[in-house]
Amino acid sequence: MGLLLALLLCATARPARAQESPYFVLYDHHMEEPGNLEISLSPVLASPRNGPRSLATSLELEYGTTAWWTSSLYLDGASATAGPSAFTGFRLENRFRLLMHEHPVNPVFYVELADTNGADRVAKEIVGFDSWRDFAEPIREARTETEREVETKLILSGNRRGWNVAANAIAEKNLAGAPWELGYAVGTSRPLALAAQPFECHLCRENFTLGLEMYGGLGEAGNLTLSQTSHYLAASVAWSLPNGITLRLSPARGLTQTSNRSFVRFGISYEGHIR
């Protein structure tokens, strides 16, 4: 159903193109252009330290509500090399740019409501004491756990000489009464070429942006710690095509014994103007 809706929206949208960020977990301060709709499919292959690999997929519809407000709807699903596939829930996200001019550091407030189950493995953020064990639990059992959560982020980001540097402070709370779980993401990115070529091209350097992200958990409110938390270092690349399609890839390596061994994230997105 979600895919059908996405295809319908693709057919009615005029292609538009922004300089796409290569980040998967980290957010920078750039908002979706008003009236633009971006449809993304982002599979994530997770390799826990023990147990079967899992593949989670997120379908995202991101809309530029205004020039300072971006809204997104995510529909998530997961499957493992052994066991069934499952729809794992939805997330509704809003980002608000707090300052109306470009500054060296630009703050953005992010709030997300999530209604997912325990089998959700998209791992759009790592918080608290998230560990590889969450990914090793069989989907059949994990999907019975309901997780209604609110998540907030303070996004700080700035550009200089073609570089973007960004940092996110993350706080997530399960509405069933669990404590606030904390996390972070930091990183930097830069296009391979800063100036554009005078002709349309697919493989020229201006269409590629490279990035480096690091993200992980920081324990809970009242127990801010690095002990028993997961951390990942990821390289990423985005390839923006002239027709509004962007392809992205990001392999990530777990840095602690609590982390998954690795994530490999893929992304394909199409951006169009519908208003």
Binding site: A67, P104, V105, R160, V165, F199
Partner: protein
């Protein structure tokens, strides 16, 4: 953790070093920059300003009010946008591409 600390330091250094805007477009009078700017315009601006920049959902960029703006003012406007009025910030485009856009805008004739 060292990498995270390094990145945070990099963020602060980036924040403290704001670049002055050149008084003139470094890509002025360069035909290839006008061509590149035309390509960028179609990719990023045409949906609102029209394929020929004569206006659509957003105003014409051929107007004297736009053409008479000095280069740094135009660069600043493209960088910051006018977020409350619907014009997005294009700061995600590198400086070089924003100057190429301005080179193209300067090549347009007034109505």
């Amino acid at each position: 953790m060292r990498i995270a600390a390094f990145t945070l330091v990099l963020l602060v250094v980036t924040a403290c070093a704001s670049a002055p805007i050149p008084a003139r477009n470094p890509y002025a009078n360069r035909p290839e920059a006008v061509q590149a700017g035309a390509k960028l315009f179609l990719q990023h601006c045409a949906a609102c300003h029209g394929a020929d920049a004569s206006g659509h959902a957003a105003p014409s960029l051929r107007r004297a009010a736009v053409q008479s703006l000095p280069d740094p003012a135009l660069f600043s406007f493209i960088t910051n946008g006018a977020l409350r009025r619907g014009m997005p910030s294009w700061a995600q485009l590198p400086d070089e591409r924003r100057w190429q856009l301005i080179a193209y805008l300067r090549s347009l004739h007034d109505d």
